[in-house]
Subunit: 419 residues, 2 copies
């Protein structure tokens, strides 16, 4: 399937065909559950910031009025104090395919990754290497460098072909008896490459290492089963496919088997065994709460909860099926309309290797992105020559994709860099 | 003034007197700017969670509808990306009495304190001791222990009389040429003791140390001038006197003179010199943004902004004057009505030594707190025998205080532990 465009049936590349696909979409009614205005005409950046569910806006109003204004501090014991672990459990069940007691919603992805990496390294104190790949999101790479320096570990870097990504076999070249921790992204933020989470986890375990997965670009999009795959740690963000809003708190998963042994250095009161004992010294909570630190963002967590409720209702299998179909359709359109203009698909061509976005490589990508936005099409530019077309199964329509690619073609054509 | 109740004029302890005080309050109109329902009848826990300003609720609706739903990802470059430093500057000017470019709004107080302590220790790499006092908030003490263990520092603990607190002279007993960092709270979360921020800062500098102030219980309540006092680092929370809501992001101040030298270990993309360059390795921002880590909470930061706007309008001097008057009034009432029942004031009696809450020590404090809440009076219990009466100058009325102390007296009287 990686041999080009031949495996794709030609698309009837007109808008009425796209509209027929939308009519036939089993998830079509979910779009009405989101607050969607007339602009932009095509929003293809839900993998950076998902649209707001109407229920989330209503719920936030309720929290502001009834819980904050109405019950004030009493809402902490009544409703809020257990939210990080409660909504963590909901996320585990809905998105991670894992059991309760292993997940919290808290802090940013960055902070959670910092804690997870420290906790993971702490499980292999005698090992000296930490592995990351060059295609990983900057924060992930930066944190590996920071923690390696602090703990005197050597960083081993993988440089896979960005359009194929890390596999168990490419990983085998750099892991071994010195490997403490491997940090990888489930879906590559640039290419959209979907890694083999279970196979790679097994490969890391075979050399005695611990794996940390960044699920930011797969959570809420790709069905997974962290418990079954034996994943040790995972983190991810909630403002993409979970639609929890700008800067909403992230999630952190620690496999139950590790919970009694892990520690993390940001020791705040919400991670203590008894939050309100105000004890003389820190005793970590016996459970997943030990990964918490400060006072959690209530508005952020309830937004996560509403996003999860929608995902659960739609079902991850249906979401994944639509993601596959939307990305296939996007690639076919791009091959037909953009490739002749010199803009090529830079995402995996096999659906099984692909997350929820399709990336186009083209000259002048930053300028093209600006022109697309001016024309009412919102994709995402990624330095230096990539344009991501993010497809959110609950809100993106085939008509949006058709319109976006059509305008993309007109813009690049007008710019004159045809092949 | 520390010799008991003699310095207080007797209060005309009836509700009509309290109402006359409310009539004469120059800040009385500010209460109408908050969303306040009929319950509770007396809310004396604004120092745990401040009430919501009406403008904040309106602003959040606007962000949800116009910015998130309306502009989607485009709001990041248009409005959101600079919020941490922009609102940080607003907080610096309004609350910290300090210049721009030294403050950000981000993360939780815990996470910011973790970063500030690491950054502070990094400025004194050859020194071996870190100082904290036993009365400090648990998170502060826990973090000092965590960071000391990580950096192989010795923790020196101060155990001041909790009702008087840390002074430059008590501090002198434990600081010296080995002192790297001193972490103290400006206002003690239990007693309400207000430390001499400028004097202690000078004392720490005299031995060559670096000071980190936790301003959680003074920000928005006590005028201060961090620049003039020469403070090195400060952190604090925004959901108390800044009314930014449950779990709103905290602030972090780093004196300009240190900015080029400080580093912190949670190296996420928002702290990088060019956030969107997606660089091969981490290069910290040249400015205060280097203290940032992950994607900031937009809803939280705009709530901080609205709270600050109210504070600026009221003016910190008027806020402080009312805090002094409210606490004097509360102490006088407590002396008159509670002391004969065996419940004593456990806060400093000199107004200059006191923040915004008055703490009562009494037998069965947890049970008394429960009964108070049932009767519509909301204070805060602090383990094991303290009840905090938090007084928020912009929202707390004298009538609320009178009612609270009156009901407090009836409850303790009924319990039968009179002196």
């Amino acid at each position: 399937m990686a041999d080009g465009t031949a495996s794709y049936a030609p698309v009837a590349a007109d808008l009425s065909d796209a509209r027929r696909r939308d009519e036939a979409d089993p998830l079509r009614e979910f779009r009405e559950r989101f607050a969607i205005g007339v602009d932009p005409i095509a929003y293809l950046d839900g993998n950076s910031l998902g649209r707001p569910p109407k229920a989330t806006i209503e719920r936030l109003h309720q929290v502001l009025d009834a819980e904050w204004a109405g019950r004030l501090i009493l809402s902490w014991p009544e409703r809020w104090v257990d939210l990080p672990a409660q909504v963590g459990d909901q996320l585990a069940q809905t998105v991670l395919g894992s059991g309760p007691g292993q997940t919290v919603i808290a802090d940013s992805t960055t902070v959670n990754l910092f804690k997870a990496l420290h906790a993971a390294c702490g499980l292999r104190p005698d090992r000296t290497e930490i592995v990351v790949d060059d295609a990983n999101f900057p924060t992930d790479r930066y944190l590996v460098d920071s923690i390696a320096a602090e703990r005197e570990l050597t960083v081993r870097r993988l440089s896979p072909d960005p359009e194929s990504g890390v596999t168990a076999s490419t990983l085998a070249q750099v892991i071994g008896p010195r490997t403490a921790v491997v940090l990888l992204s489930h879906v590559d933020y640039r290419s959209g490459y979907l890694a083999d989470l279970a196979g790679i986890t097994t490969a890391v375990h075979e050399v005695g290492g611990v794996v940390v997965w960044d699920l930011s670009h797969s959570a809420g999009l790709v069905p997974m089963s962290l418990d079954e795959a034996g994943v040790d740690f995972a983190v991810g963000c909630t403002y993409k496919y979970l639609n929890a809003g700008p800067g909403a708190p992230a999630f952190l998963y620690v496999a139950a088997q590790h919970l009694s042994a892990v520690s993390q250095p940001i020791t705040g009161w919400f991670g203590a065994a008894d939050v309100f004992a105000m004890a003389a010294s820190y005793e970590p909570a016996p459970d997943i709460r030990r990964m918490l630190s400060g006072t959690p963002s209530v508005l952020g967590i309830v937004a996560v909860q509403e996003g999860l409720t929608l995902i659960a209702e739609a079902g991850l299998d249906r979401i994944r099926a639509k993601a596959v179909d939307l990305t296939e359709y996007t690639i076919a359109l791009a091959d037909e309309k953009l490739a002749p203009l010199g803009a090529s698909v830079a995402s995996p061509r096999a659906a099984a290797d692909r997350g929820g976005h399709v990336t186009i490589r083209c000259a002048g990508a930053e300028d093209v992105t600006r022109r697309l936005v001016e024309a009412g099409v919102v994709p995402d530019f990624r330095n230096p020559d990539l344009i991501r077309l993010g497809l959110s199964p609950l809100t993106t329509t085939y008509a949006e994709v058709w319109t976006a690619v059509d305008i993309f073609a007109r813009i690049t054509s007008r710019r004159g860099f045809t092949a």
